[in-house]
Symmetry: C2
């Protein structure tokens, strides 16, 4: 974070001088904090005056109305209120670029375009650059906001055919100044992608977890890390996710259709005694898993596992990771598979395949119980 | 592990003096190593003489035939060969208890009973105690065997109505002596449980991953840790899993039917513009997720998260975990969410809710960038 008023890096020249943030919840206030820290003038607005007061107290910006048109209006209100707030911003500030943060984009774009048509203000759309930061927390509101909430997170931008390219460049510069990674795509491609990468996984995790309802406690014990992984998302907030899913209804329904077809093919193969569809589904899964992004945006990676048995007491993990660090090997991922009923756990360290032997030997030399 | 010939703990009195292990792969050889280490006399048998030689060289037991009937025969051959090997053991060693390690149980029980009926040897079944250790490795064969492979792992035992209770007690003592946690249930309940807790999650993970096939690289970036969690199992070996799934075909097909019904209800709710089925599915998922066992066999737990931004270089994690250990807080789980395109990552430390503030404050005091 910069101390002075100048923004870091090459984005400085493009950064807006003044930004109006409409909606001082977690996302809006976090963006306001990050922009203020770079010396950008930020004004704050919310239907809830108490929320604005908290944001102001945290140093996110000013509660008064902008004395002149801001360069950018960032609309960060709840999804259902976004389209009207976007249109109002476009009409009120006739030179401003307007963006938003709603998690689905095609329906919003249609709603904004419909409102602009009613207003006979089709040219307003040239200043609208829709967006979606893939960041969040388990807590909400301006009190939970963080200036670095978007650091290293993808922030999708979905300009329409009406959008002037220079408007997209401005929003991209703002996104980058907040440390986020802009990905520019169309509203429809965005929604289809998040239906597959985020919304369908949520429905699946919840549905698999729901199927456990009939099991007794000892039967649920007949499970391992795999079930924990698959059902982890099922702990998400049902009301929030109902809003998200209904706002992307058709792409999610299409993705569920395709998923149901694949599951039904496996089921029919199992009932019909024919293993081919089962094998085919599993092989397609291996190929799909390779697409799931590894670290560093460098594309798909396969990691090797070094498994270590660790006593389940404070300090043991610290000692393990210190010894792992001493080998010079970088850890890509860590999983702790707690033993059921015992004060020990199995820690799986994922590393680049070329580093596996170095790490395993280094940990053994340090006295660790490395499996294999 | 005991140094001398006596077995540890209360299981000593019940431990068999002699055990024949049929099948010297990963599971059989691991059990043989664990039993030999406790002073139990182990004999080894396999259709592959080379495999037996490796196991003998590793000190797992003797390659000769037992001079008298062993107390226990542990059949650890591939699933398709298990029923015949079990019956042969029951007929050859007329006093021995016989167990196995196949990952599904009802079909095996039916096959063994059918073979016993053909042999007009229905009473043989009184000595058969089927089993399933929930343990494994990514590598196979006697060279990969470990004496502590079963430590802290659940080992299901599925005696039938024919099984003498004393036979189950013996196998339970052996399982406990290997450090495993016995869970006694029926073959049918076992298979229904693993269909829900293991087999269906595998099919789901593969099917969700398979659905990503049509996405471009930038679209796959519109995802987070959730997709990684849900699809992690999709990297499993397709041929191995085809065998497992077909051996439990009907329970898995039933579980897939129920899952498809739940997914279809969500899809229809989305298409029909009715949020109730969507909300209902998500709420049922929250309830189901609570059933997924936490650590210590102590029942369902909810953990609190302390999120820390960490530079992505060797040694940083070691420093973090050392500082976390110094707070005296025990870590329940760890997730590393690698930032895409940046040399930093977000480390999420899961702890008991009562410990969250202590850990967060301790790490901040040590100079860490703790979110929130």
């Amino acid at each position: 974070m910069s101390d002075g008023p100048a923004a870091p890096g090459g984005a400085a020249a493009l950064l807006p001088r003044g930004v109006l943030v409409v909606g001082t919840g977690l996302i809006g206030t976090s963006a306001a904090l990050g922009l203020t820290a770079q010396g950008v003038q930020v004004w704050l607005q919310d239907v809830d005056g108490g929320s604005v007061a908290v944001a102001v107290e945290r140093g996110a910006g000013l509660s008064e109305a902008p004395p002149e048109s801001p360069d950018l209006v960032l609309v960060a209100v709840p999804p259902a209120a976004t389209a009207e707030a976007v249109l109002e911003a476009l009409r009120t500030y006739v030179d401003a670029t307007v963006s938003d943060v709603a998690s689905t984009k095609a329906r919003l774009q249609r709603e904004v375009e419909a409102l602009a048509t009613v207003a006979s203000d089709q040219h307003l759309l040239s200043r609208f650059v829709a967006g979606h930061p893939l960041a969040g927390r388990e807590v909400s509101g301006p009190g939970a906001a963080l200036p670095d909430l978007f650091a290293d997170r993808v922030w999708a931008l979905t300009p329409s055919a009406h959008t002037e390219p220079g408007r997209t460049d401005l929003v991209r510069a703002v996104v980058e100044s907040l440390g986020a990674l802009p990905v520019v795509t169309s509203p429809e491609e965005h929604d289809r992608a998040v239906a597959l990468t985020s919304h369908t996984p949520q429905v699946v995790a919840s549905s698999v977890a729901a199927g456990l309802g009939g099991l007794g406690e000892s039967e649920v014990r007949l499970s391992g890390q795999g079930l924990r992984d698959v059902t982890r998302l099922a702990a998400s907030d049902p009301r929030l996710w109902t809003d998200i899913l209904t706002s992307n209804a058709e792409p999610v329904a299409d993705a569920l259709d395709a998923l149901i077809d694949r599951l039904a093919a496996v089921r029919d193969g199992l009932r019909g005694g024919s293993p081919e569809p089962v094998l085919g589904a599993l092989e397609a899964g291996v190929a799909g898993r390779r697409l799931v992004q590894g670290k560093h945006g460098s594309g798909p990676l396969e990691f090797a596992v070094v498994a270590v048995t660790v006593a389940d007491r404070p300090g043991e993990l610290g000692r393990l990771f210190a010894d792992a660090g001493a080998t010079g090997v970088n850890l890509e991922d860590v999983r702790i598979d707690h033993a059921q009923g015992r004060p020990t756990g199995l820690v799986e360290l994922e590393v680049a395949p070329a580093s596996q032997a170095v790490l395993a030997e280094g940990l053994r030399a340090a006295g660790w119980d490395v499996r294999g």
